[in-house]
């Protein structure tokens, strides 16, 4: 939750200084709190992924994009573009403004990825499921299984590489790496089929004992709620739609959503094993994360220019104090709260089992 708050904060700015501060904070927290579990490696893979995203964004921004600014760095041969695509150009002169705008834009996306990576590293996504209401539980499992695909893919690539090594093939050129994709995808498809079979044979998605009518109504409510919420949020964020659409959609979404949750709470098909206690430390950590996001929003509303670095004329981006304060609160709250119990017991358990 905390990391998601930071990610939300990051999505609203392209100020490079703020973004760098956010990345530094997540790195600090992960270094202090990460568990020695398989998913803890998510953070470093997220960093790599973010770097790739930033560089792709920069390359595309340079090669394909609107001409911007006057400080020319160097120029590339320009390709002729058909008349029906005005304003687009491929190649041509490259300016500092262009480079920076692409870089900052890429960094925004990169920071969001890093924040989500931090969320992954600090706790397993499956823990999140324990706090998900049962109406959307099955959907949630599907999403979590899909999310866990990335770390498994990474370890799969390592395994296939090792296997290739044992078979006497070296992986050096890019064509060899591309050759890895086939078996890795093949393997992960087969595995997801296996997993689906295993989940099914252990009762995932059971409907026995639930009234069919109630089930249908719940599903209908949940779907309506999600669609309405998505439309409403989209309307709010873009500010394009007519004034009444977004709030109405949000209200409809919330109403149907709550209805669906109440109805699904009555069905007894699922139960929870040792649900996570949601107490003061948990609340304070997630609130502090969102506080950071909130401080950014507030600054955005009152002084939008501080968050969008100007390119015309080129200037050093300012660092708004309020935002820094919000981020600082997030850091301190996350550092001060006691670690989750399992964090402490994990390494101890491992040691004792090694000694035993």
């Amino acid at each position: 939750m905390w990391a998601l708050g930071l990610a939300a904060a990051a999505s609203r700015t392209s100020n490079p200084l703020i973004l760098l501060v956010i990345i530094a904070i997540t790195a600090l927290i992960v270094a202090f709190r990460a568990q020695h579990a398989p998913w803890a490696r998510a953070y470093s893979s997220a960093l790599v992924l973010a770097a790739i995203v930033v560089s792709i964004r920069v390359i595309f921004g340079l090669l394909v994009g609107l001409p911007l600014g006057t400080h020319e760095l160097f120029s590339l041969p320009q390709l002729p573009v058909p008349d029906w695509a005005p304003g687009i150009r491929i190649g041509g002169s490259i300016t500092i403004e262009q480079l920076l705008s692409a870089l900052f834009d890429g960094m925004r996306l990169g920071t969001i990825i890093v924040c989500i990576g931090a969320a992954n590293a600090l706790s397993s996504p499956l823990r999140l499921l324990k706090s998900v209401p049962s109406a959307v539980y099955e959907l949630g499992v599907a999403i979590v299984v899909a999310m866990s695909l990335v770390p498994t893919l990474i370890s799969d690539i390592a395994r296939v590489r090792e296997a290739r090594h044992l078979r006497g093939r070296s992986i050096s050129g890019p064509s060899d790496v591309i050759g890895l994709i086939g078996p890795v995808l093949d393997g992960s498809l087969r595995r997801s089929l296996d997993l689906a079979a295993a989940m099914d044979s252990r009762g995932y998605g059971r409907t026995a004992g639930i009234d069919r009518k109630i089930r249908r109504v719940t599903n209908l409510l949940v779907v309506t709620a999600l669609v309405a919420l998505v439309l409403g949020i989209y309307g709010f964020l873009t500010g394009n739609s007519t004034s009444w659409v977004a709030p109405t959609m949000l209200i409809v979404g919330l109403a149907t959503g709550v209805g669906g949750l109440i109805l699904s709470g009555q069905r007894t098909a699922r139960s929870r094993y040792r649900p996570d206690v949601w107490a003061i430390p948990e609340w304070s950590v997630s609130i502090s994360g969102w506080l950071a996001a909130g401080s950014l929003w507030w600054v955005l509303a009152h002084n939008a220019s501080a968050l969008e670095p100007s390119f015309n004329p080129l200037s050093w981006p300012p660092l708004p104090l309020l935002v820094v304060a919000g981020l600082a609160v997030a850091t301190i709250a996350a550092l001060m709260t006691p670690p989750i119990p399992s964090d402490q017991s994990m390494p101890m358990r491992e040691e004792s089992s090694v000694n035993a």
Partner: protein, 543 residues
Amino acid sequence: MIVFRDVSVTYPEQTDPVLAHVSLTIPDGELCLVVGPSGAGKTTLLRLINGLVPHFSGGTVQGSVEVHGRSTATHPPRELADLVGFVGQDPAAGFVTDTVEDELAYAMESMGVAPDVMRRRVEETLDLLGLTALRRRALRSLSGGEAQRVAIGSALTTHPKILVLDEPTSALDPAAADEVLASLQRLVHDLGLTVVLAEHRLERVVQYADRVILVPGEGAPLIVGEPATIMRQSPVAPPVVELARAANWSNTPLSVRDARRSADVLREQLSNASVSMDSEHITKSNTAVVVHVKDVRVGYGRREVLHSICLDLHEGEIIAVMGRNGAGKSTLLSTMVGLRVPFRGSVKVQGDNPATLTPQALVRHIGLVPQQAGDLLYAESVDLECRQTDKDAALTPGTTAAMLSQIAPWIKPSTHPGDLSEGSRLALALAVVLAPDPSVLLLDEPTRGLDYETKSHLIEVLVKAAKRGRTIVLATHDVELAAELATRTIVLADGEVVADGPTREIITSSPMFAPQIAKALSPLPLLTVSDVKAAMLSLREPL
């Protein structure tokens, strides 16, 4: 009660049915053992019981399967989950959550068991399968045997009426296998649980079975009967049964205890025989050192798995590495092949550090068949796989295919490796690694899921390789294999070498690792049926 009525299964794109006209009734509270050669359709039979075939496999099923009155045609696996617990061949593939405790609770959560009941059952199951020390461990950090126990535990927590297990003990060390089987038997006795399990290691299971179903394969009719009756005629049989055949006993012993009681006369006779087969099991300490492991410490992250291992492996030796689940056997093998870089110490294979060799040179020096043998395979078909190996290792075309036909001649070249049965896939991986004829051959659990026939082919190939001066290392739980094949045995415990010496000495001195024949005929130093036959022959000669 499970009722099969005239069931035939045909998978898509195949003309012949895997199982044809199966009619079978398994009553409540029975421990039913399914045996048969690799790829005969044992897994298909098991998956029919909870509806995974056809709901997850595709294909056509004729006839009907009814479980406690519910037809699998109309009930998908999830609607049978309260009746049937299912543990597949690769337990790790079926894990949904990420810690041991959550995994045990998962099926109960789906079933809607009350929280306090769940809590209690999780604790009971942790105790029953000896998992208490692992409860908070991440599932991905478990060794193969630990994962197997967690998978069985998570199927048990819902208290199903029927438990279906596909090769439940093949990844377990002898002690852990005994524990799991004993607890299964307790469940059958105390709770009236019906257990259906497929297993190749008959010597472990057959004594517990109430009934044996023999699946001969290729659509031939099933043979169902009492364990003793089936074993008398079965082409696959545990060593004690072979012993009974060799000694012409009238009864068929199923356990070591039965065999001991019938073996008094034989033991008397054989004690006079000059047992001198030690000549072929000579220790080869005089030949050249091929692998030199010096003071190696290795581990994952901060956890050290192997502490200061020193070993010299000689030319022509066959070495069995044994030890508990999680003792560090697989880690030792992957360090020898250079996949793990030791924290300290060094590994030398014929004077070179395997980690720095190019892959092309590596396959000639040292080959490893990992536990997940399927990882090695990536081509579209068995045929392409063989040709790829020939090309990679610069062999004369056809070498790998020839090797495969020595080990497992029945594998069709056009099959996709992923569609092979677990045992056949292992056979293919073995062929792929054996073909370049590396001077050192490391095999991690090489007999997992292999039937007795394939196993004997493999033994033949390995013995030949050792005669040519190749060094072979087997990390295995299969004591019968070690007894038959290995000249030297190393026992690992907790990352240290606790015993190292001639196989005969090591495995007869420990009741845990002793093979059936050694137990039945102790104190005679005979390990295998062929030892016994040789001893009987030497008795007759003077007469």
